[in-house]
Protein backbone atom coordinates (compact mmCIF):
# COMPACT_ATOMS: atom_id res chain seq x y z
CA UNK A 1 0.00 0.00 0.00
CA UNK A 2 1.42 3.36 -0.92
CA UNK A 3 1.79 6.21 1.50
CA UNK A 4 -1.01 8.02 -0.29
CA UNK A 5 -3.39 5.09 -0.16
CA UNK A 6 -2.81 4.93 3.56
CA UNK A 7 -3.61 8.61 3.97
CA UNK A 8 -6.72 8.49 1.84
CA UNK A 9 -8.07 5.54 3.77
CA UNK A 10 -7.65 7.33 7.05
CA UNK A 11 -9.20 10.51 5.69
CA UNK A 12 -12.22 8.78 4.28
CA UNK A 13 -12.69 6.61 7.33
CA UNK A 14 -12.41 9.43 9.83
CA UNK A 15 -14.38 11.91 7.75
CA UNK A 16 -17.23 9.46 7.46
CA UNK A 17 -17.10 8.57 11.15
CA UNK A 18 -17.03 12.19 12.26
CA UNK A 19 -19.54 13.59 9.82
CA UNK A 20 -22.16 10.85 9.79
CA UNK A 21 -23.48 11.21 13.35
CA UNK A 22 -23.93 14.95 12.92
CA UNK A 23 -25.79 14.48 9.69
CA UNK A 24 -27.99 11.80 11.19
CA UNK A 25 -28.79 13.97 14.16
CA UNK A 26 -29.74 17.01 12.14
CA UNK A 27 -31.20 17.20 8.70
CA UNK A 28 -28.77 18.16 6.00
CA UNK A 29 -30.73 21.31 5.35
CA UNK A 30 -29.91 22.51 8.81
CA UNK A 31 -31.85 23.26 11.95
CA UNK A 32 -32.28 26.44 13.87
CA UNK A 33 -29.28 27.01 16.06
CA UNK A 34 -26.85 25.10 13.91
CA UNK A 35 -23.44 26.72 14.16
CA UNK A 36 -21.64 28.32 11.27
CA UNK A 37 -19.00 25.63 11.53
CA UNK A 38 -21.59 22.87 11.14
CA UNK A 39 -23.17 24.69 8.26
CA UNK A 40 -19.82 25.02 6.53
CA UNK A 41 -19.16 21.37 7.17
CA UNK A 42 -22.44 20.44 5.55
CA UNK A 43 -21.63 22.65 2.60
CA UNK A 44 -18.29 20.97 2.27
CA UNK A 45 -19.85 17.53 2.50
CA UNK A 46 -22.34 18.43 -0.19
CA UNK A 47 -19.47 19.44 -2.42
CA UNK A 48 -17.61 16.25 -1.73
CA UNK A 49 -20.72 14.16 -2.24
CA UNK A 50 -21.41 16.04 -5.43
CA UNK A 51 -17.97 15.33 -6.70
CA UNK A 52 -18.18 11.69 -5.78
CA UNK A 53 -21.58 11.18 -7.35
CA UNK A 54 -21.29 13.22 -10.50
CA UNK A 55 -17.56 13.50 -10.91
CA UNK A 56 -18.14 16.92 -12.30
CA UNK A 57 -15.03 18.89 -11.46
CA UNK A 58 -17.00 22.07 -11.97
CA UNK A 59 -18.62 21.33 -8.62
CA UNK A 60 -15.36 20.61 -6.89
CA UNK A 61 -14.13 22.80 -4.07
CA UNK A 62 -11.76 25.56 -5.07
CA UNK A 63 -8.94 23.71 -3.37
CA UNK A 64 -8.74 21.57 -6.47
CA UNK A 65 -7.71 24.43 -8.72
CA UNK A 66 -4.01 24.32 -8.04
CA UNK A 67 -3.85 20.56 -8.17
CA UNK A 68 -5.70 20.22 -11.43
CA UNK A 69 -3.55 22.88 -12.98
CA UNK A 70 -0.38 21.30 -11.63
CA UNK A 71 -1.34 17.87 -12.92
CA UNK A 72 -2.31 19.24 -16.28
CA UNK A 73 1.05 20.94 -16.70
CA UNK A 74 2.84 17.71 -15.95
CA UNK A 75 0.53 15.68 -18.11
CA UNK A 76 1.28 17.95 -21.01
CA UNK A 77 4.88 16.82 -20.81
CA UNK A 78 4.11 13.11 -20.64
CA UNK A 79 0.76 12.65 -22.37
CA UNK A 80 1.03 10.48 -25.44
CA UNK A 81 -2.49 10.84 -26.76
CA UNK A 82 -2.32 13.62 -29.32
CA UNK A 83 -5.92 14.68 -28.92
CA UNK A 84 -5.61 14.90 -25.16
CA UNK A 85 -2.38 16.79 -25.52
CA UNK A 86 -4.07 19.35 -27.74
CA UNK A 87 -6.93 19.69 -25.30
CA UNK A 88 -4.57 20.24 -22.42
CA UNK A 89 -2.47 22.71 -24.32
CA UNK A 90 -5.57 24.67 -25.26
CA UNK A 91 -6.74 24.78 -21.70
CA UNK A 92 -3.40 25.91 -20.41
CA UNK A 93 -3.15 28.54 -23.14
CA UNK A 94 -6.51 29.85 -22.03
CA UNK A 95 -5.13 30.27 -18.56
CA UNK A 96 -2.52 32.62 -19.92
CA UNK A 97 -5.11 35.02 -21.22
CA UNK A 98 -7.73 34.39 -18.60
CA UNK A 99 -5.85 33.33 -15.48
CA UNK A 100 -8.74 31.77 -13.63
CA UNK A 101 -7.63 28.35 -12.52
CA UNK A 102 -10.97 26.61 -12.43
CA UNK A 103 -11.40 22.87 -12.80
CA UNK A 104 -14.51 23.50 -14.88
CA UNK A 105 -12.16 24.58 -17.64
CA UNK A 106 -10.24 21.34 -17.51
CA UNK A 107 -10.72 18.89 -20.37
CA UNK A 108 -13.51 16.39 -19.85
CA UNK A 109 -11.27 13.37 -20.01
CA UNK A 110 -9.89 14.34 -16.63
CA UNK A 111 -13.30 13.45 -15.20
CA UNK A 112 -13.06 9.95 -16.66
CA UNK A 113 -9.61 9.40 -15.23
CA UNK A 114 -10.79 10.48 -11.81
CA UNK A 115 -13.83 8.26 -12.14
CA UNK A 116 -11.73 5.19 -12.87
CA UNK A 117 -9.50 5.83 -9.90
CA UNK A 118 -12.38 6.55 -7.56
CA UNK A 119 -14.13 3.35 -8.57
CA UNK A 120 -11.04 1.36 -7.72
CA UNK A 121 -10.58 3.08 -4.40
CA UNK A 122 -14.26 2.83 -3.49
CA UNK A 123 -14.30 -0.88 -4.26
CA UNK A 124 -11.35 -1.51 -2.00
CA UNK A 125 -12.81 0.60 0.74
CA UNK A 126 -16.14 -1.24 0.59
CA UNK A 127 -14.38 -4.55 0.98
CA UNK A 128 -12.49 -3.41 4.03
CA UNK A 129 -15.10 -1.15 5.59
CA UNK A 130 -16.22 -3.76 8.10
CA UNK A 131 -12.67 -4.37 9.23
CA UNK A 132 -11.98 -0.65 9.51
CA UNK A 133 -15.13 -0.10 11.54
CA UNK A 134 -13.88 -2.53 14.18
CA UNK A 135 -10.59 -0.72 14.60
CA UNK A 136 -10.40 2.34 16.84
CA UNK A 137 -9.09 5.50 15.27
CA UNK A 138 -5.55 6.09 16.39
CA UNK A 139 -4.70 9.04 14.27
CA UNK A 140 -6.18 12.48 13.88
CA UNK A 141 -5.12 14.56 10.94
CA UNK A 142 -7.43 17.54 11.53
CA UNK A 143 -11.01 18.70 11.63
CA UNK A 144 -13.74 16.86 9.74
CA UNK A 145 -14.10 19.83 7.44
CA UNK A 146 -10.44 19.76 6.65
CA UNK A 147 -10.41 16.03 6.28
CA UNK A 148 -13.26 16.10 3.83
CA UNK A 149 -11.59 18.77 1.79
CA UNK A 150 -8.37 16.81 2.06
CA UNK A 151 -10.08 13.64 1.01
CA UNK A 152 -11.38 15.34 -2.09
CA UNK A 153 -7.97 16.63 -2.91
CA UNK A 154 -6.34 13.31 -2.31
CA UNK A 155 -8.84 11.50 -4.51
CA UNK A 156 -7.96 13.70 -7.42
CA UNK A 157 -4.34 13.46 -6.42
CA UNK A 158 -4.53 9.74 -6.80
CA UNK A 159 -5.54 10.24 -10.39
CA UNK A 160 -2.16 11.73 -11.10
CA UNK A 161 -0.35 8.42 -11.73
CA UNK A 162 -2.97 7.42 -14.28
CA UNK A 163 -2.87 10.87 -15.73
CA UNK A 164 0.86 10.83 -16.07
CA UNK A 165 1.16 7.27 -17.19
CA UNK A 166 3.42 6.44 -14.32
CA UNK A 167 4.47 8.13 -11.12
CA UNK A 168 7.84 9.81 -11.38
CA UNK A 169 8.09 11.31 -7.92
CA UNK A 170 10.07 9.89 -5.04
CA UNK A 171 12.46 7.00 -5.45
CA UNK A 172 10.67 3.77 -4.88
CA UNK A 173 13.78 1.93 -3.73
CA UNK A 174 13.24 2.92 -0.14
CA UNK A 175 10.28 1.14 1.34
CA UNK A 176 7.27 3.26 2.33
CA UNK A 177 6.88 3.19 6.07
CA UNK A 178 4.41 4.64 8.57
CA UNK A 179 5.12 8.23 9.45
CA UNK A 180 5.33 9.18 13.11
CA UNK A 181 4.43 12.78 13.91
CA UNK A 182 6.14 14.48 16.83
CA UNK A 183 5.20 17.97 18.04
CA UNK A 184 7.97 20.07 19.54
CA UNK A 185 7.65 22.99 21.94
CA UNK A 186 10.99 24.56 21.13
CA UNK A 187 13.24 25.01 18.14
CA UNK A 188 16.15 23.64 20.15
CA UNK A 189 14.39 20.32 20.66
CA UNK A 190 13.53 20.03 17.00
CA UNK A 191 17.07 20.93 15.98
CA UNK A 192 18.55 18.32 18.32
CA UNK A 193 16.33 15.65 16.83
CA UNK A 194 17.24 16.57 13.24
CA UNK A 195 20.81 17.87 13.22
CA UNK A 196 21.39 17.46 9.50
CA UNK A 197 18.29 19.47 8.61
CA UNK A 198 19.11 22.09 11.23
CA UNK A 199 22.59 22.59 9.89
CA UNK A 200 21.51 23.26 6.33
CA UNK A 201 18.55 25.37 7.49
CA UNK A 202 20.94 27.57 9.43
CA UNK A 203 23.25 27.74 6.46
CA UNK A 204 20.55 29.16 4.21
CA UNK A 205 19.01 31.17 7.05
CA UNK A 206 15.43 29.98 6.68
CA UNK A 207 14.66 29.66 10.36
CA UNK A 208 14.76 33.40 10.96
CA UNK A 209 11.07 33.48 11.86
CA UNK A 210 11.81 31.21 14.82
CA UNK A 211 14.56 33.35 16.27
CA UNK A 212 17.11 30.79 15.22
CA UNK A 213 20.75 31.55 14.80
CA UNK A 214 21.41 31.29 11.12
CA UNK A 215 24.54 31.86 9.17
CA UNK A 216 23.11 33.84 6.30
CA UNK A 217 24.64 37.26 6.30
CA UNK A 218 23.12 38.41 3.07
CA UNK A 219 24.08 37.86 -0.51
CA UNK A 220 22.00 37.59 -3.63
CA UNK A 221 18.53 36.15 -3.65
Amino acid sequence: MSFHDDIIRRWLDEAAADAAPKLDRESIDGLDGASDEEERMRDRLRLVQGLLSTLDLKEAPKELDALVHHNACEALESETDELQELELAGWLEGLDTEPVLEPCKAPEFLDRIVEQRLATIQGTIDEESELQAEQPTRFRWGSPRRMMAGATLALVLLAAPLFLGGYSGADQDAADSPVRLVNYDSLEGLQRAFPSQSQVASGVGILGAFGASGNDSGGPR
Binding site: L101, A193, G208, S213, D216, S217, G218
Partner: protein
Protein backbone atom coordinates in the same frame (compact mmCIF):
# COMPACT_ATOMS: atom_id res chain seq x y z
CA UNK B 1 -38.82 68.11 -0.68
CA UNK B 2 -37.98 71.21 1.32
CA UNK B 3 -34.57 72.89 1.10
CA UNK B 4 -34.00 71.88 4.69
CA UNK B 5 -34.64 68.23 4.08
CA UNK B 6 -32.53 68.32 0.88
CA UNK B 7 -29.65 69.77 2.81
CA UNK B 8 -30.02 67.18 5.52
CA UNK B 9 -30.02 64.38 3.00
CA UNK B 10 -26.96 65.84 1.31
CA UNK B 11 -25.20 66.17 4.62
CA UNK B 12 -26.10 62.62 5.53
CA UNK B 13 -24.82 61.24 2.20
CA UNK B 14 -21.68 63.35 2.44
CA UNK B 15 -21.11 62.21 5.96
CA UNK B 16 -21.61 58.57 4.97
CA UNK B 17 -19.19 58.86 2.06
CA UNK B 18 -16.63 60.57 4.26
CA UNK B 19 -17.05 57.90 6.91
CA UNK B 20 -16.62 55.11 4.39
CA UNK B 21 -13.61 56.85 2.92
CA UNK B 22 -12.01 57.23 6.30
CA UNK B 23 -12.69 53.63 7.18
CA UNK B 24 -11.29 52.48 3.87
CA UNK B 25 -8.22 54.57 4.31
CA UNK B 26 -7.57 53.25 7.75
CA UNK B 27 -8.26 56.47 9.58
CA UNK B 28 -9.43 56.42 13.16
CA UNK B 29 -7.10 53.64 14.19
CA UNK B 30 -5.03 55.39 16.73
CA UNK B 31 -6.69 54.09 19.83
CA UNK B 32 -7.43 50.49 18.96
CA UNK B 33 -5.11 49.67 16.08
CA UNK B 34 -8.19 48.34 14.36
CA UNK B 35 -9.15 49.07 10.78
CA UNK B 36 -12.40 48.10 9.13
CA UNK B 37 -12.50 47.73 5.38
CA UNK B 38 -15.55 48.76 3.47
CA UNK B 39 -16.38 46.83 0.31
CA UNK B 40 -14.74 48.24 -2.80
CA UNK B 41 -13.98 51.62 -1.37
CA UNK B 42 -11.26 53.30 -3.30
CA UNK B 43 -10.24 52.38 -6.83
CA UNK B 44 -8.96 49.02 -7.90
CA UNK B 45 -5.57 49.61 -9.41
CA UNK B 46 -5.18 49.30 -13.14
CA UNK B 47 -1.92 48.21 -14.67
CA UNK B 48 -1.47 45.65 -11.94
CA UNK B 49 1.06 43.70 -13.99
CA UNK B 50 3.58 46.53 -14.00
CA UNK B 51 2.85 47.22 -10.35
CA UNK B 52 3.43 43.59 -9.38
CA UNK B 53 6.65 43.48 -11.38
CA UNK B 54 7.92 46.65 -9.72
CA UNK B 55 7.03 45.44 -6.24
CA UNK B 56 8.86 42.19 -6.94
CA UNK B 57 11.99 43.66 -8.53
CA UNK B 58 12.55 46.87 -6.61
CA UNK B 59 14.33 45.35 -3.59
CA UNK B 60 16.88 43.83 -5.98
CA UNK B 61 17.20 46.49 -8.67
CA UNK B 62 17.01 49.78 -6.77
CA UNK B 63 20.04 51.16 -4.97
CA UNK B 64 18.86 52.67 -1.71
CA UNK B 65 19.60 53.05 1.99
CA UNK B 66 17.71 54.05 5.10
CA UNK B 67 16.66 53.37 8.64
CA UNK B 68 13.40 51.61 9.35
CA UNK B 69 11.38 50.66 12.41
CA UNK B 70 9.79 47.23 12.75
CA UNK B 71 7.16 46.00 15.19
CA UNK B 72 5.95 42.43 15.61
CA UNK B 73 3.03 42.68 17.98
CA UNK B 74 2.04 39.02 18.16
CA UNK B 75 5.37 37.89 19.54
CA UNK B 76 5.91 37.64 23.28
CA UNK B 77 7.53 39.80 24.31
CA UNK B 78 6.51 42.22 21.58
CA UNK B 79 9.48 42.82 19.30
CA UNK B 80 10.21 46.40 18.29
CA UNK B 81 13.50 47.59 16.83
CA UNK B 82 15.20 49.84 14.29
CA UNK B 83 17.61 48.74 11.62
CA UNK B 84 19.75 50.20 8.90
CA UNK B 85 19.22 48.68 5.48
CA UNK B 86 20.86 49.19 2.13
CA UNK B 87 20.88 47.52 -1.26
CA UNK B 88 23.19 48.05 -4.19
CA UNK B 89 20.60 47.50 -6.92
CA UNK B 90 22.54 44.52 -8.21
CA UNK B 91 21.19 41.87 -5.83
CA UNK B 92 23.33 42.53 -2.78
CA UNK B 93 21.91 43.87 0.46
CA UNK B 94 22.82 44.48 4.07
CA UNK B 95 20.82 44.89 7.27
CA UNK B 96 22.10 46.01 10.65
CA UNK B 97 19.98 46.38 13.78
CA UNK B 98 20.82 49.68 15.48
CA UNK B 99 18.60 49.64 18.56
CA UNK B 100 16.00 47.50 20.27
CA UNK B 101 13.00 49.20 21.86
CA UNK B 102 11.37 46.09 23.33
CA UNK B 103 11.59 45.43 27.01
CA UNK B 104 12.00 41.86 28.13
CA UNK B 105 14.15 40.87 25.18
CA UNK B 106 17.65 39.51 25.64
CA UNK B 107 19.14 42.26 23.51
CA UNK B 108 22.53 40.67 22.98
CA UNK B 109 21.17 37.38 21.70
CA UNK B 110 18.50 39.17 19.68
CA UNK B 111 21.14 41.24 17.91
CA UNK B 112 23.18 38.12 17.23
CA UNK B 113 20.15 36.31 15.81
CA UNK B 114 19.24 39.22 13.58
CA UNK B 115 22.78 39.53 12.29
CA UNK B 116 22.77 35.86 11.33
CA UNK B 117 19.39 35.96 9.62
CA UNK B 118 19.78 38.95 7.36
CA UNK B 119 18.99 36.88 4.31
CA UNK B 120 15.72 35.54 5.67
CA UNK B 121 14.69 38.95 6.95
CA UNK B 122 15.37 40.65 3.65
CA UNK B 123 13.79 38.00 1.47
CA UNK B 124 10.76 36.81 3.40
CA UNK B 125 9.90 38.98 6.42
CA UNK B 126 6.80 41.15 6.13
CA UNK B 127 5.20 42.15 2.86
CA UNK B 128 7.14 41.01 -0.17
CA UNK B 129 6.07 40.13 -3.71
CA UNK B 130 7.95 36.95 -4.53
CA UNK B 131 6.29 36.14 -7.84
CA UNK B 132 4.56 38.92 -9.79
CA UNK B 133 2.52 36.59 -11.99
CA UNK B 134 1.08 34.65 -9.05
CA UNK B 135 0.65 37.84 -7.08
CA UNK B 136 -1.47 39.24 -9.85
CA UNK B 137 -3.59 36.12 -9.95
CA UNK B 138 -4.05 35.63 -6.24
CA UNK B 139 -4.17 39.13 -4.81
CA UNK B 140 -6.17 42.26 -5.36
CA UNK B 141 -4.57 45.66 -5.11
CA UNK B 142 -6.76 48.58 -4.18
CA UNK B 143 -5.57 52.14 -4.30
CA UNK B 144 -6.46 53.95 -1.14
CA UNK B 145 -7.11 57.57 -1.96
CA UNK B 146 -4.71 58.83 0.61
CA UNK B 147 -1.40 60.54 -0.03
CA UNK B 148 1.18 59.21 2.33
CA UNK B 149 4.57 60.69 3.12
CA UNK B 150 7.05 58.19 4.52
CA UNK B 151 10.50 59.38 5.53
CA UNK B 152 9.97 62.47 3.43
CA UNK B 153 9.04 60.48 0.33
CA UNK B 154 5.61 60.79 -1.31
CA UNK B 155 4.18 57.30 -1.38
CA UNK B 156 1.13 55.62 -2.82
CA UNK B 157 -0.89 53.70 -0.25
CA UNK B 158 -2.41 50.44 -1.43
CA UNK B 159 -4.47 47.74 0.21
CA UNK B 160 -3.37 44.23 -0.72
CA UNK B 161 -5.81 41.42 -0.11
CA UNK B 162 -5.70 37.80 -1.09
CA UNK B 163 -8.58 36.83 -3.32
CA UNK B 164 -11.14 34.84 -1.41
CA UNK B 165 -12.28 31.48 -2.63
CA UNK B 166 -10.08 28.57 -1.96
CA UNK B 167 -8.75 29.37 1.48
CA UNK B 168 -10.56 27.89 4.47
CA UNK B 169 -10.00 31.02 6.45
CA UNK B 170 -9.93 34.64 5.46
CA UNK B 171 -6.30 35.66 5.10
CA UNK B 172 -4.64 38.74 6.52
CA UNK B 173 -4.41 42.04 4.63
CA UNK B 174 -1.52 44.36 4.03
CA UNK B 175 -1.60 48.13 3.84
CA UNK B 176 1.46 49.07 1.84
CA UNK B 177 3.11 52.44 1.23
CA UNK B 178 5.25 52.31 -1.87
CA UNK B 179 7.38 54.79 -3.72
CA UNK B 180 5.38 55.03 -6.95
CA UNK B 181 8.22 55.37 -9.43
CA UNK B 182 10.20 52.33 -8.34
CA UNK B 183 7.70 50.19 -6.44
CA UNK B 184 9.99 50.13 -3.44
CA UNK B 185 8.01 49.48 -0.27
CA UNK B 186 8.71 52.07 2.41
CA UNK B 187 6.09 50.87 4.84
CA UNK B 188 3.68 48.03 5.41
CA UNK B 189 1.17 46.94 8.02
CA UNK B 190 -0.16 43.39 8.31
CA UNK B 191 -3.67 43.16 9.71
CA UNK B 192 -6.03 40.34 10.52
CA UNK B 193 -9.32 40.08 8.60
CA UNK B 194 -10.98 41.94 11.47
CA UNK B 195 -8.40 44.70 11.24
CA UNK B 196 -6.14 43.96 14.20
CA UNK B 197 -2.60 45.12 13.57
CA UNK B 198 -0.12 42.22 13.69
CA UNK B 199 3.10 43.77 12.51
CA UNK B 200 4.40 46.84 10.73
CA UNK B 201 7.46 48.35 9.12
CA UNK B 202 8.12 51.97 8.27
CA UNK B 203 11.19 53.81 7.06
CA UNK B 204 12.21 56.71 9.28
CA UNK B 205 14.84 57.96 6.86
CA UNK B 206 15.39 56.99 3.26
CA UNK B 207 17.55 57.89 0.30
CA UNK B 208 18.30 56.56 -3.15
CA UNK B 209 21.87 55.63 -3.91
CA UNK B 210 24.58 54.31 -1.62
CA UNK B 211 24.71 55.06 2.09
CA UNK B 212 27.37 57.42 3.45
CA UNK B 213 28.42 54.67 5.82
CA UNK B 214 27.92 51.44 3.89
CA UNK B 215 26.63 48.35 5.64
CA UNK B 216 28.75 45.28 4.90
CA UNK B 217 27.01 43.14 2.34
CA UNK B 218 27.78 39.52 2.96
CA UNK B 219 27.44 36.44 0.85
CA UNK B 220 25.41 33.35 1.60
CA UNK B 221 27.43 30.82 3.58
CA UNK B 222 26.48 27.83 1.44
CA UNK B 223 27.09 27.34 -2.25
CA UNK B 224 23.82 27.61 -4.16
CA UNK B 225 23.01 27.15 -7.82
CA UNK B 226 19.66 28.25 -9.18
CA UNK B 227 17.71 25.68 -11.17
CA UNK B 228 14.99 25.98 -13.74
CA UNK B 229 11.90 25.17 -11.66
CA UNK B 230 10.26 23.70 -14.77
CA UNK B 231 13.15 21.28 -15.27
CA UNK B 232 14.06 19.85 -11.89
CA UNK B 233 14.87 16.55 -13.55
CA UNK B 234 17.82 18.35 -15.09
CA UNK B 235 19.47 18.98 -11.74
CA UNK B 236 22.70 17.31 -10.67
CA UNK B 237 20.99 15.65 -7.73
CA UNK B 238 21.90 11.96 -7.58
CA UNK B 239 18.35 11.15 -6.55
CA UNK B 240 14.82 11.72 -7.76
CA UNK B 241 13.80 15.24 -6.79
CA UNK B 242 10.70 15.21 -4.62
CA UNK B 243 7.68 16.98 -6.09
CA UNK B 244 5.05 17.93 -3.48
CA UNK B 245 1.65 17.56 -5.11
CA UNK B 246 -0.63 18.91 -2.43
CA UNK B 247 0.27 22.56 -2.30
CA UNK B 248 -1.34 25.18 -0.08
CA UNK B 249 -4.12 26.99 -1.90
CA UNK B 250 -2.81 28.96 -4.89
CA UNK B 251 0.83 28.14 -4.19
CA UNK B 252 3.15 27.16 -7.05
CA UNK B 253 6.81 26.34 -7.35
CA UNK B 254 8.53 29.65 -8.04
CA UNK B 255 12.28 29.10 -7.62
CA UNK B 256 14.56 26.12 -7.08
CA UNK B 257 18.20 25.77 -6.07
CA UNK B 258 20.87 23.16 -5.51
CA UNK B 259 22.56 23.73 -2.16
CA UNK B 260 25.73 22.04 -0.94
CA UNK B 261 25.86 21.73 2.84
CA UNK B 262 28.97 21.79 5.01
CA UNK B 263 29.51 18.08 4.29
CA UNK B 264 29.26 18.72 0.55
CA UNK B 265 25.96 16.85 0.39
CA UNK B 266 23.57 18.11 -2.23
CA UNK B 267 20.18 19.39 -1.16
CA UNK B 268 17.37 20.70 -3.32
CA UNK B 269 15.73 23.90 -2.08
CA UNK B 270 12.37 24.75 -3.56
CA UNK B 271 10.49 27.98 -2.88
CA UNK B 272 6.73 27.83 -3.34
CA UNK B 273 4.63 30.96 -3.23
CA UNK B 274 1.20 32.33 -3.92
CA UNK B 275 2.86 35.54 -5.00
CA UNK B 276 3.42 36.95 -1.52
CA UNK B 277 3.66 34.13 1.02
CA UNK B 278 6.58 31.70 0.99
CA UNK B 279 6.84 28.00 1.66
CA UNK B 280 10.41 26.73 1.57
CA UNK B 281 11.09 23.04 1.10
CA UNK B 282 14.51 21.36 1.23
CA UNK B 283 15.42 17.70 0.89
CA UNK B 284 18.23 15.31 0.18
CA UNK B 285 18.52 11.57 -0.12
CA UNK B 286 19.90 9.88 2.97
CA UNK B 287 23.15 8.07 2.32
CA UNK B 288 21.98 5.02 4.23
CA UNK B 289 18.70 4.58 2.41
CA UNK B 290 18.70 1.13 0.88
CA UNK B 291 16.07 -0.99 -0.72
CA UNK B 292 13.85 -2.44 1.95
CA UNK B 293 14.99 0.03 4.58
CA UNK B 294 12.31 -0.26 7.19
CA UNK B 295 13.49 2.51 9.47
CA UNK B 296 10.46 4.34 10.82
CA UNK B 297 9.78 7.67 9.17
CA UNK B 298 9.45 10.61 11.51
CA UNK B 299 8.26 14.19 11.08
CA UNK B 300 8.99 16.73 13.81
CA UNK B 301 6.74 19.80 13.87
CA UNK B 302 7.09 23.17 15.56
CA UNK B 303 4.38 25.81 15.24
CA UNK B 304 5.32 29.25 16.49
CA UNK B 305 3.18 32.30 15.89
CA UNK B 306 2.10 32.35 12.28
CA UNK B 307 4.99 30.12 11.18
CA UNK B 308 5.51 26.36 11.12
CA UNK B 309 8.66 24.35 10.54
CA UNK B 310 8.69 20.63 9.82
CA UNK B 311 11.84 18.51 9.81
CA UNK B 312 11.94 14.82 9.20
CA UNK B 313 13.30 11.64 7.77
CA UNK B 314 10.77 10.00 5.49
CA UNK B 315 11.24 7.06 3.16
CA UNK B 316 14.97 7.55 2.88
CA UNK B 317 14.88 11.33 2.50
CA UNK B 318 15.94 14.04 4.93
CA UNK B 319 13.65 17.01 4.53
CA UNK B 320 12.50 20.26 6.05
CA UNK B 321 9.74 22.71 5.24
CA UNK B 322 9.18 26.22 6.59
CA UNK B 323 6.20 28.43 5.91
CA UNK B 324 3.92 31.08 7.29
CA UNK B 325 1.00 28.73 7.60
CA UNK B 326 -0.52 26.13 9.89
CA UNK B 327 0.97 22.76 10.77
CA UNK B 328 -1.82 20.87 9.02
CA UNK B 329 -1.10 22.50 5.68
CA UNK B 330 2.60 21.78 5.90
CA UNK B 331 1.99 18.19 7.00
CA UNK B 332 -0.19 17.62 3.97
CA UNK B 333 2.33 19.33 1.74
CA UNK B 334 5.20 17.15 2.95
CA UNK B 335 3.16 13.95 2.92
CA UNK B 336 2.19 14.51 -0.68
CA UNK B 337 5.79 14.00 -1.81
CA UNK B 338 5.51 10.27 -1.24
Amino acid sequence: MSPLSTASLGQWVGSAILTLGLIACGAGTSSSDTIEFGPDNGVVASGTSALAANLSQAPWQVEYHGVRRLEFLTERPVVEYREKVSADGRGQFGIQVIDVASSGLDTASFLAEQAQNEGFNYRYRGFRVLDPFLFEINYTVQLLNQEQVVAGVDCTRILVRKRLGSAHTTPNHFIVDMEPNTGLVLGWQELTPSGVLLSKMEFESFGFGPADEPIPMGAGSLEETELDPQDLAGSNAPFAVLRPRLLPAEFRLSRAYEVRDASNKLWIRQVFTDGEGALIFMHKKQASANAGDSKASTLGILEQGQWTVVMGDVNGYSLLAVGKMGANEIEDFVSSCF
